[in-house]
């Protein structure tokens, strides 16, 4: 008989859940993972990773169609869409297997099935029911239960995925064929990345956003530059746009969009609905407990504790920001607190956000507007990639690095980047924020030449003494 009683049970095997299990095993806690579908969760199977594989393909396609700019000549460039999709799936599969291997190496048992809280035993240990395919459920017990069931696409009435015309991110990742005309509703990270992928693969793309600007959580200047870049690439961008009732014909979808007092009907082969996500709070045994649910996420304190002692919620289930690295960090914090270590709550202003469209977008901390709203007197630095040698050499001159400092203390309040490779560079500013460096240490830091990262240095100087190269 295999073990059924643990120190910690983690429900959900995504970047929150499996990381929690690995950390618990490191800290010598006995731990099990309950996973209904596939280890690695949405991130690894239907989110971050497969989209990056697709975006890599679209980037190559873009370069192949831009070869003359670099002095090349090639004719008859084409691609096999099915193979591009297949490569994306293979990457996901490989990583999911990697997670399984990591858990096995850490001797963490994985129970396949849906996990559900089921009250407590007389001795106070929490019960978790694991059920799959209508088979008799297994009962596990543990002192602590970490809920990490993640989230799924929000479905708006009239935009329900139908497997044919209307896609969520899931269908958009595994299409049978390239749509010629695509409408993407919602310009957050997910919508923007799909718009970028399909446009760079050659589709006609319209990006529709209800807010007044795309990527509404980013700094306004970055939103404007992204819009400009997208429009230059041929993406049609509609902001402040209300979507009406969709009309489906045998072969296409008609999407009425109201902009102010004008209504226009967009015609598309496919529609991607990317209007946010909702937490998976159903069927995990929250009913009748002291665990509170606000709309679609579980309410927790800063250390991920729910209203029930010994029950925690992490990652997307516990609310925004919906980011894998936030889930993983909460996982470590939560488990370390269980193990009796001193932990500190996550400071959302130290969590970076990345969008892998072309050009890439990355940011951390306060936007200029948010900093002013919070009462800071700010110093802002800007440096355009147009003035950066490496960006020019690479043929990627579009972009901007923007820094926001507290004028009083020199604290780096926020950094906002758009351009080539910025998602790989933002960590420099995140380290600065986490390490509480001021403009002085950043100015004293020697950045290697020639790199795009030199622009990060210049953007700091620009906020103070003035940039040297602009």
């Amino acid at each position: 008989m295999s073990q059924t009683d643990f120190d910690v049970i983690v429900i959900g095997g995504g970047p929150g859940g499996y990381v929690a299990a690995l950390r618990a095993a490191q800290l010598k806690l006995s731990v099990a993972v309950v996973e209904a579908q596939h280890l690695g969760g949405i991130c690894l199977n239907w989110g971050c990773i497969p989209t990056k594989a697709l975006l890599r393909a679209s980037e190559i396609n873009h370069l192949l169609h831009d070869l003359p700019a670099y002095g090349f000549k090639a004719e008859g460039v084409s691609f096999d869409f099915k193979k591009i999709i297949a490569r994306s799936r293979a990457v996901s599969k490989q990583l999911s297997a990697g997670v399984a291997h990591l858990l096995k190496k850490a001797k963490v048992p994985v129970f396949n099935g849906y996990g559900k809280l089921d009250g407590t035993q007389a001795n106070g240990r929490r019960k978790v029911l694991v059920s799959q395919d209508g088979a008799a459920p297994t009962t596990l017990t543990a002192q602590h239960v970490i809920l990490a069931t993640g989230a799924r696409a929000r479905v708006l009435p009239g935009l329900e995925p139908d497997g044919k015309f209307i896609w969520s991110y899931k269908e958009a990742l595994v299409p049978e064929e390239m749509p010629k005309r695509l409408v993407v509703i919602g310009s957050g990270a997910i919508g923007t990345e799909f718009a970028s992928f399909y446009r760079n693969m050659g589709a006609d793309v319209t990006l529709v956003e209800v807010a007044q600007r795309i990527l509404p959580v980013e700094d306004e200047e970055i939103s404007q530059l992204a819009r400009k870049a997208f429009e230059k690439q041929g993406i049609r961008v509609l902001t402040g746009a209300q979507v009406g009732t969709l009309q489906k014909t045998a072969t296409e979808v008609h999407i009425p969009v109201t902009l102010g007092d004008k209504t226009e009907t967009l015609v598309a082969d496919r529609v991607i609905s990317a209007v946010g996500i909702v937490g998976n709070v159903e069927n995990i045994g929250l009913e009748g407990t002291k665990i509170q649910v606000d709309r679609t996420h579980v309410v927790t304190d800063a250390l991920c504790r729910t209203g029930e002692p010994g029950v925690y919620a992490i990652g997307d289930l516990a609310g925004a920001p919906w980011l894998a690295h936030k889930a993983s960090h909460e996982a470590v914090m939560c488990v370390e607190a269980i193990a009796g270590k001193t932990v500190h709550p996550i400071d959302p202003t130290k969590v970076p956000g990345c969008t892998y469209c072309r050009p890439q977008i990355a940011s951390v901390g306060y936007t200029e507007a948010k900093a002013k709203e919070a009462g800071y007197k700010v110093r802002v630095g800007r440096f355009p990639l147009l003035a950066n040698g490496k960006a020019l050499a690479m043929g990627e001159p579009d972009g901007l690095i923007k820094t926001v400092f507290d004028a009083q203390t020199g604290e780096l309040l926020g950094a906002h980047m758009i351009g080539a490779e910025v998602t790989e560079m933002i960590q420099g500013y995140v380290i600065a924020r986490t390490g509480e460096l001021t403009e002085a240490e950043l100015a004293e830091t020697i950045f290697p030449h020639p790199t795009i990262s030199e622009s990060m240095h210049e953007a700091v100087l620009a906020a103070y003494d003035g940039a040297l190269h602009f």
Binding site: E411, E436, L437, T438
Partner: protein
């Protein structure tokens, strides 16, 4: 081999101190017993002596630095010809033998009765304050002392939230005081930074007046008999040498107070939330005024000591107090205080209780004045004494009883020499 001189713990409770003065310069020869530095704690200044010989290699903590934690390396002594290490490494600091073997806090007076205070626990070396650049900058701009902050970042690093928490705590408890402390003067004013002693006086006495319900009982006491006895006793002293003595009125009043405390032991007490602590010995704290404040060295078990002993001890304590060289245990503790302002011609005054003691006796000047006794008027030397009392510990009748006992002893002073 290079030896680190660590900040010594000069009393069992000392956690930090100030490097008041370095007496050696880098490059000086050091002989065993040489005084290297003066360390200032709450109220005392003490000397750090070298135990080993060598060359005074490097000062790690400059003169005037406050809040230096016990066991922090403060200087390096090297052997002749040896290179001076740049700065202590954690490894060498940890490997250093207990500082008692290297440097010793020495004071010229007799050894204290309590356990020697010069063997601090070997703690993690804290030779520098680990703080983020942002924390440092915020602390500097808000005037927050980083040494007083406990860091909550990785490995105890002081981060922004720690400075902000410390600052908000300080500002929450201080606003009215800060306002009151900045009077506007038409003639201009200047700001004199507080000494450690001034801060302690301010803190302790504010605390006393704010938390202890004081009441005051005064009584007139005739001094003629005591002064006659004093003259007789002083005539017995040899002119000079070890056995010479010169009793002061104050010496005799110290003993009188101690004897009164034995007669009314309820006053020799400390109030605590849970219980009344009654002290066996009458350890008399004697207020001594200094240029920049005051200090209360203690004549311990005064009821058991001869007047000569008390006199010699008090003299030594007072002179060392004025030189700032008292050891903490010589002024910390005490069960009852005396404050004598007779030499200033004061008519009468009331003192503030010195917690955790329950009472303090304020002694004014003796003055020849007419006294009615029976139906006659005669001349006597009279002083007014006022007992300030912690009402939580001592009630009015008990205070009056103690004053009566004190007066009886002073007016019939032969008990002082028994």
């Amino acid at each position: 081999m290079a030896i680190e001189i660590l900040m010594p713990a000069l009393s069992p409770t000392m956690t930090e101190g100030k490097i008041a003065r370095w007496l050696k310069k880098e490059g000086d020869t050091v002989n065993s017993g040489d005084v290297l530095a003066e360390i200032e704690t709450d109220k005392a200044t003490m000397e750090v002596e070298a135990i080993e010989e060598g060359i005074f290699g490097r000062i790690l903590v400059p003169e005037g630095t406050e809040g230096v934690a016990v066991n922090t390396p403060i200087a390096i002594v090297v052997e002749e010809g040896e290179a001076v290490p740049a700065a202590p490494t954690p490894a060498t600091a940890a490997a250093t033998v207990a500082p008692a073997a290297v440097a010793n806090a020495a004071v010229t007076a007799s050894a204290p009765a309590s356990a020697p205070a010069t063997t601090p626990q070997v703690a993690r070396p804290t030779n520098r304050i680990v703080a983020s650049p942002l924390a440092r900058r915020i602390a500097a701009s808000k005037g927050v002392d980083l040494a007083s902050i406990k860091g909550t970042g990785p490995h105890g690093r002081i981060v922004k939230r720690d400075v902000e928490a410390a600052e908000s705590k300080a500002s929450a408890s201080l606003p009215s005081r800060a306002q009151a402390a900045a009077p506007v003067s038409g003639g201009g004013s200047r700001s004199v930074p507080h000494t450690t002693m001034r801060k302690v006086i301010a803190r302790r006495l504010s605390e006393s007046k704010a938390t202890i319900p004081h009441f005051y009982v005064s009584m007139d006491v005739e001094l003629d008999a005591l002064m006659a006895l004093r003259a007789q006793l002083n005539a017995l002293s040899s002119d000079e040498g070890q056995d010479s003595f010169k009793l002061s009125v104050n010496d005799m009043l110290i003993k009188a107070a101690a004897l009164a405390l034995k007669q009314v032991p309820e006053v020799n007490a400390s109030f605590t939330e849970d219980a009344m602590i009654l002290h066996d010995d009458a350890d008399i704290s004697v207020a001594v005024s200094l240029n920049d404040g005051l200090i209360t060295p203690i004549v311990r078990a005064a009821e058991r000591k001869s007047l000569k002993q008390i006199s010699q001890e008090a003299k030594s304590l007072v002179s060392r107090a004025r030189a700032g060289k008292l050891k903490p245990e010589e002024f910390q503790g005490g069960t009852f205080s005396i404050s004598n302002m007779g030499m200033f011609g004061v008519k009468e005054f009331a003192a503030i209780v010195n917690p955790p003691q329950a009472a303090i006796l304020a002694i004014a000047a003796g003055k020849r004045q007419p006294v009615v006794s029976g139906d006659e008027i005669r001349i006597a030397t009279v002083m007014t004494v006022t007992l300030s009392v912690d009402h939580r510990a001592v009630d009015g009748a008990t205070a009056a009883k103690w004053l009566s006992a004190f007066r009886s002893i002073v007016q019939s002073p032969l008990a002082l020499v028994l």
